[in-house]
Amino acid sequence: MISLPDSIMHPLKRVNRVYFTDPDRILAIPAGGTLVRQNEECHRLFLVLRGTFVAYRRSDNFEGSELPAETQVRGQEVFRAEPRSYVCVQAFFSRSYHSSYHIAAVEDAEVAYIDDTTPAVDEEHYGTLEQQFVPVLVHELAARNFRIFTHVSEKEEAVRLLQRAEMASVLGQLSAGIAHELNNAVGVISRRTDFVAENLSSFLGENDPQNARLFRYGYEDESFLSAGEVRTRARAYERDLDMSQEASRVLAHIAPDDATLKRLDTRFIKHIRRHFRFWELGHDLRDLRMASRHASGIVRAVKLLGGGSSSREAGVDVNQSVRDALNLLSAKLKNITVRTQLGELPSVFADPTELLQIWTNIISNACDAMQHAETPQPMVCITTTTLHAENLQLLPTEYVAVTISNNGPSIPEEIRDKIFQPSFTTKKKGMDFGLGLGLSIVRRLVDSYGATVELHSSDIITSFTINLPTTQIHGND
């Protein structure tokens, strides 16, 4: 762990050989046993030969005489000492002989030591004991530097996580407030639009069926013609049928091609010439309806982004939440082949609704991307497995990995960092604009579980993998 140049390592090895091999000065410490007590006098300098020691610092004096095993020791862990590390260096060389830490063996261990009576070996040739131990001091300095560096970066990471959580929480509160305010207003607009359209349609029908017909054409318009297409058609009608620019534009929407035009009776076409505004009325209500649906969708998504009350519980079945998501999206998945490979999983500590949100957002995004790109034989594959991570300090070791992949277009390299940000969206086409919230909801939820998202994207396959820890260590907010 500590690398030092040979000019230090060679004399260090000599010191170890000369001073720390005397069988009379070797101690065996059983697991849980104490090497040094905090605040106790200690005239020895130790070298760990075998096993690991952990150093604790307690703020108050611990008065128990028999010190318990590591797990029962209360106090803050300061560092660990492994074979080839020195212990009590400062106390020994400062001549204070006073230990600042309580040092106990984690496992059966062995140490060698010198004390303040140990004479210098070969002083004529190698100098005083202090001079001979300079490499040890250098080693200790390097070890302490390393320890501080590690502590600082761990702390920075913790602060970063905390800041992100705080930002998410502020954003959540703000958006929940806005969503609540808008919800009722949007609901009124949405419902009343339907009422107005219904009433108007039947009212027009009672008076003039032709007007009602025009109104319905406008209200149910699904042509989604581009402005250029409408313009070209309208120009032709304007010229050939002697119509105003506005009326010909309406006719271009109703009859975007010659075949459709032929099916319309001349009386109706004449009617359009003077009464095209009924079509516009219908079309306005259609836009209003679509816009209010879109607004309700945003309000709903923002409410989810806001989070609200989450109730996380133990024993949640991830496979079931994946199946729920597929059920929920069954309409959207109608023309898409769905393959699932759900492995046997341990249950997790989670809120089933939140898991559902994660899966539906990712799957729904995949559907949109494939539909937009007109992917031939679109497919969504979902696999779930259990993962065991290496023993990383502070991190849980058991994860449930959920991979959602699709054979749609790849996500361009340059936007991969951005797709999890709120308001980033690639969907902008007429009224079909995306919310830009989907993946930011995923990010918020994933962060709150201490889970990770991996994204792999190529021309053949794009996959999101969520690694969800089965237990929670960060608390649940």
């Binding site: 402005a227 250029g228 086409k429």
Partner: protein, 157 residues
Amino acid sequence: METINIICVDDQPEVLDSVLRDLRPLSPLIRLEEASGTEDCLRLLEQIDEDGGHVAVLITDQVMPGNTGTDLLAKVTGDARFSHTRKILLTGQATHADTINAINEGRLDNYVEKPWEPEKLLNMVKRLLTLYIMEAGIDYKPYMSILDNATLFSKLR
């Protein structure tokens, strides 16, 4: 009588619809045209030019798939056939830099933020239309009913 066009460019059909409707008081003296993007607008400009028509005012969105509104304005500004054309940027998303570019490279006349006030937009377009008609040397009399009087008088004085 000359054919005078006002063009609105936006990738969202419902925005185009609204602008065209807000400007309808100018019809039928003025032709109101729509384009779904910069490419579509350039095609439309060619067609209008072929038919010998004028483009008095060009109203464009900034953020559209493909080229931006600023790109379009710069192109039109560099085209001698449309040297008198007046320009409005109608947008909700232009950055500071976009706006500076639109003014410097695209000789922008007005900047309107979405959502716009219909009456303000109509009056603005009327003023620009009046300027165009006077500067392009078109007989203004047939258009009196839709021109901006103050602008007209200041130009006539």
